[in-house]
Subunit: 356 residues, 2 copies
């Protein structure tokens, strides 16, 4: 049975005999065949549904590794700047490991719902008068002066854990896909997958490497546009980042793999988001839909080959962001008075809409 | 690799050559060792975390089976009365299968957030002037007169799919646990687990059977109290049911297994809910915490034996109900002005709280 990432991919990870093999049984996420999308694109398309990790996002892969190493190094406290998936994951693994978790956030536009997950896992949240960069700066200063471990993406173990998703894709398919499509925000995940694909090939587990297709949101497309975006804006909040921490590594992954990093509009993202749920039965975070939106765009531009085997990384669970779901569809139900004939009419039975 | 419930447990399910093996790769959920709880109780406690099913609850197990049989029988539309996990699951599998999904709900106290999931998966929601029982009555009438398949829990295939969770528990442990602790609302799930454990033993996969411990919420404890509750009330909305559909089967499971069905207070449920997140790193729906609250109560009353191997069923994902999380903990962050020394003070570094 599945015993978590650290045990399962032990020989591929920087573990020592002293690394505690903590786990919430992260990883082992489904690779779901996307039937309608495959038909539409005349390709073989899969969703790597990372939203089914323990805290609902791919961050758990890197966090279990970062927290295990923090414990090995004797740290009793971890710290990050984040209002989203990173803080939730950090808080959960800190709870698991018996560590203290401190989360620094900017004291403006705080969505209470986004914080709830970290707080219920027991994190201490401190809001500062400043923006995200300021919060991260404090975290870096504090963690460099005190025995507190920084678990933001600059923690090198994060990418080590995250690369295991590439292993799982190869294990499921028996080889690497032709194309790996992935949302790009802070750009660490595309770098992690690329590292994973390369390592699996080096170890002889696969023969080929995929083309890496990264997709930024248009309003936060720093890499695509080649410039820092001062005020990034997109509905895909998990990739609303104007100056990606792993910019160089991401660009290298695209170039080395003969892939690219491009961008998709919020409109395309929301269309893909609705399509995935209503046509494939997969409810993802808006940011996750960037990968599918990107593949659809490539298809429109004639850049997808018939038969291509494409894996779209679905980074987070749609349940993380119910507000976007409510905005994206008309949730208000049709109301009918309480008699059967009106219900039948509303259903359309009388019009024969149900083969009646 | 995991290919979903219908393929994996094919020989245990009522499938024919004509049953389409649809899947969202449901099942195969983690059995997480609960370290702190095990230490506290001097027992071996696991969480079967069903919140990591595709739509975030155990309902997906039964729904994949019900929808596959609906397709086999030529149905093009499924229908249910539900405002919660059932409608979300029905909508997702209908999307997957290309079927129409109609959800009937009572037109009062509609929490838009609860509906959002079903709607994003493409369900048509109709609100009637009446209560839940009235909605279910309409669903039964309509589905008995028109070629529309009812997928509420009276659909017999639901329990067939749900019993697979018992198989997975046995597969993970190598045998049945001593005790299976489970929340009881409509009471179908305890009946399904019991059926699963018995079938696995009949097939020679296991030698023993667990005691079934079912836990109702005190304000909806029909079985425990031996009477229908007209107006059930509990924070654990997923088990807020005053007249369980599978009452007899649940009572039989408790009796046959030398277990019981008891109740836990909302206070106990919320305490277990917070404990699970903050101490074990598992964020569950409030209803799910009834199993853990029940085990804690049994321990307090001296009814747990040292070394008992206990599996607590965690039926749904905490992300389904962010409002309860926000109410259960103080989400408002500590605010400090933007200078480093104040942040350090807030963290307690100056008091040596971080071994500094």
């Amino acid at each position: 049975m599945w015993q978590g990432l650290l045990r399962h991919y032990r020989s591929y990870l920087p573990l020592t005999d002293d690394t505690p093999l903590i786990t919430l049984l992260e990883g082992n996420t489904p690779l779901i065949y996307a039937e309608r999308l495959s038909d539409m694109l005349e390709a073989e398309v899969y969703f790597k549904f990372e939203g089914l990790n323990p805290t609902g996002s791919f961050k758990d892969r890197g966090m279990v590794m970062a927290v295990a190493k923090a414990m090995e190094e004797g740290s009793r406290t971890i710290m990050c700047a984040s209002t989203g998936n990173t803080s939730a994951s950090a808080a959960a693994y800190a709870a698991r490991a018996g560590l203290r978790c401190i989360v620094l956030i900017p004291n403006k536009k705080i969505a209470v719902g986004k914080l709830a997950q970290a707080v219920i896992y027991g994190a201490e949240v401190i809001a500062i008068d400043g923006n995200f960069d300021q919060a991260l700066k404090f975290v870096r200063e504090i963690t460099s002066s005190y025995p507190i471990t920084l678990v933001n993406s600059v923690n090198p173990y994060r990418i080590e854990g995250q690369k295991t998703a590439a292993f799982e894709v190869c294990d499921a398919l028996g080889e690497a896909p032709d194309i790996l499509a992935i949302p790009v925000g802070n750009a660490g995940n595309i770098a992690a997958y690329w590292k994973g694909f390369k390592e699996y090939r080096e170890r002889g587990k696969t023969d080929t490497l995929p083309k890496m297709w990264g997709f930024e949101a248009e309003g936060a497309a720093a890499i695509t546009k080649g410039q820092v975006i001062e005020h990034p804006e997109t509905v895909a909040t998990a990739i609303r980042i104007g100056n990606p921490a792993s910019w160089e590594k991401a660009a290298a992954a695209a170039t080395e793999s003969a892939g690219f990093i491009g961008m998709v509009s919020d409109e395309d993202i929301l269309e893909a988001y609705r399509f995935m749920a209503a046509e494939e039965g997969v409810f993802a975070e808006p940011a996750s839909a960037a990968s599918v939106a990107g593949v659809l765009k490539q298809h429109r531009e004639g850049k997808l080959q018939p038969g291509d085997r494409v894996v779209c990384v679905i980074t987070g669970n749609g349940l993380k962001d119910p507000d976007t779901a409510i905005d994206a569809v008309s949730v208000t139900p049709k109301v009918v008075s309480g008699n059967l004939s009106e219900v039948l009419q509303a259903i359309g039975v009388e019009r024969g809409d149900v083969d009646a």
